[in-house]
Symmetry: C2
Subunit: 379 residues, 2 copies
DNA sequence: CCGACTAAGTTCAAGCATTGAACGAATGAG
DNA sequence: CTCATTCGTTCAATGCTTGAACTTAGTCGG
């Protein structure tokens, strides 16, 4: 650690706060100085290389009130972009976003990936990525899969058995030439609610149901993954110690009572949209199936809240679609069990992001890293 | 934020790493330079004020091999000390430690505090603190209570009802003239395993049973408290959604199956030492009571592990006393339910700290703050 | 006993990011 | 046209770490 390094760290830290302020919203040097607490002099200095490297652009001018007009800075419309990609059981999806978080291109293609080989999956996702990437420089790609991931390797993915043990990040990187970050879809859906916009605060849990139930846990503005990537496995929280046997070997896992497959079976439906229609039509069997699932989920979430103590739960994915009919059962079961409930109710909300939450999170993983490690922008 | 502040931050950060290295073990300037990555010049510079202020002392010399002998630095034996204090249902305890973590004085006095008023409790604990503090300067006091705490105020403490709502930190501070940090005993028992020595890694959960069951959660080398102090409430993790009604209003909480009161009742014993003797004598009723509790605890811990994904569980307090007889049931139930268990077994250990774990943690809270904010040492 | 050797600790000029103040630039108000 | 106002730049000053040179205090071999 040389002396230069120490001062360089200070500079990089300031660069990070400036970029964070810009992600929040564009602003002139003077405005950014006020917002970050740095001086105008430092801002001139810090933004100079960002402008020179095509990361930022200076807008013509703003005809404000008195005084010299300010020239707001924003992310360059031709600047670097990040790719998000999702491999899932029944679809593939990709999306590109700029550093400002705006969506540039997106694709979602239904496809049964259950039996596909790793090569087939990689081939198709690579093709999709090529479709959405244009001439703008690429920061890298985030890749989401439904399962547990550690160090770029797929550790566990019950519904895509051909991917277990595959070094997916490396494999996709070889095919696309991009830097690839691999993560679990639950974590990435949660990240999409945190970055680039705070949609649910700095501490929350995001819950999704597909075949399994996964929770992405955000603590202190950071996604919490656990030491080996197994954190937030809400689906395997036990609600009845001698309950139904689970594929994981345990008994009474939440997943066996609140998983989407269970709800559909109990409701006598095949697909989510059909269930949704039945619910809206007041079908009693469907309503009961959803209420039962909501209660089970509420019990599991109560346990989760007693361990993590966060103020907000976001229901996403299929749960967001069923939100109107789930809410009451989940909330009441949770409230009756959460210890902190005496102080304040746990806020339960539906995700405002649709089916692109996961890919947006995947892309966000890349833009977030670029902002937090600004030296990457000059490579 | 002036320019001076920026450079001061660098200096304070380096001071912190030097002090951390010294907490680990004493060492000469050259040795510390090697361990911290700083230069000998910087070390001379940083340690000078620490020596001048009586925080460190220079040992005479060490007659090592060749070359100029080194003069190791260590914390001054007359330097500042921290007080830890514990208010509990059936006892009060205090302990003083130096910055190196060595115990100086300790007291543990049995006393039924259930019906005591806040004033009575504060009076007695103040008296104990006076008994153990000598001429050495005081950094402050850590205060532990069995219950939930937030911002120096007691939020919830089922077994010491007279303390709810009391601004305990402020009250004790007024009586003793010390800076007081208030925290939950579960968090502090966990901290005692993290600071000043890593006894269980940087990620673990420490579990204690008294009347209730509490877990102190350590993630990434930091105690995780949740947004309102309610994190780690393992006692209210649900293991049977329609199980026994709990005082908290929920049903099937772990506490109702694995709490110490339950174990004693089932075993037909009044006190822990009597239970322990019965177990050692092979009393079947006692053995079964403990095994049942172990299984229930294992189910709850399995759920906890599926959410936090830490590699180690430390059993402390009464559970440490019963460890030999609890271990098997806890471990097997946990292993069959933890998803990450396929990769590695969760390590289950008994706390090596005895009944002073909580007060040591309370004192550690203060020494840790002093090291992390070294500017406090020059006041 | 002396000189070579080794390692610890100190001294000092150099380097560098931020700062605050002074300055130049660009516009509106009167 | 002049003044007020705000934006952005320039520049000397600050203060911390650094690496190299230097001093100090021992061991080792003859």
């Amino acid at each position: 650690m040389t002396t230069v390094d120490h001062l360089r760290q200070v500079r990089l830290g300031n660069l990070r706060t400036v970029l964070l302020a810009l992600v929040d919203r564009p602003g002139s040097r003077a405005d950014l100085a006020a917002r970050t607490g740095l001086t105008k002099a430092t801002l001139s200095n810090l933004t100079e290389p960002l402008l020179a490297n095509g990361i930022l652009v200076e807008e013509p001018a703003t005809l404000a009130g008195m005084g010299r007009p300010s020239k707001p800075l924003r992310f360059h419309p031709g600047g670097p972009v990040a790719v998000g990609a999702e491999i899932n059981v029944s679809h593939l999806a990709v999306e590109t976003i700029g550093l400002d978080g705006e969506t540039l291109e997106r694709r979602l293609v239904p496809a049964d990936m259950r039996k596909a080989t790793a090569d087939e999956v990689l081939g198709r996702i690579t093709e999709l990525i090529r479709e959405v990437t244009g001439p703008r420089p690429l920061l890298g790609a985030g890749l989401a899969i439904p399962g547990v991931v550690h160090d770029g390797v797929v550790i566990r993915t019950p519904n895509l058995p051909n991917l277990v043990g595959v070094r997916l990040a490396e494999a996709l990187s070889r095919r696309t030439g991009l830097d690839v970050l691999l993560d679990n879809e639950a974590n990435l859906a949660a990240l999409a609610h945190l970055w680039p916009r705070h949609l649910a605060g700095e501490d929350f849990v995001h819950v999704t149901a597909d075949v399994g139930i996964g929770a992405g846990v955000v603590l202190n503005g950071e996604v919490y993954r656990g030491v080996s990537g197994f954190a937030g496995e809400l689906g395997h929280v036990v609600i009845e110690r001698n309950g139904v046997l689970c594929t994981c070997g345990s008994r009474g896992c939440v997943e066996r009572y609140a998983g989407l497959d269970v709800i559909l079976r109990e409701a006598g439906r095949r697909r989510l949209d059909s269930l949704r229609k039945a619910l809206d039509a007041g079908d009693p069997k469907a309503l009961e199936a959803v209420r039962n699932a909501g209660e089970a989920l509420g019990v599991g979430l109560g346990t989760l809240m007693n361990l993590f103590d966060v103020p907000t739960v976001v229901l996403g994915g299929s749960y967001a679609v069923l939100y109107d009919h789930l809410r009451e059962a989940v909330q009441s079961e949770m409230d009756s069990r959460v210890l902190a409930g005496g102080e304040r109710h746990t806020r339960l909300i539906a995700s405002p992001l649709g089916e692109f939450a996961v890919v947006r999170g995947a892309a966000g993983l890349v833009t977030r890293r670029a902002v937090q490690q600004p030296e990457r922008l000059f490579a």
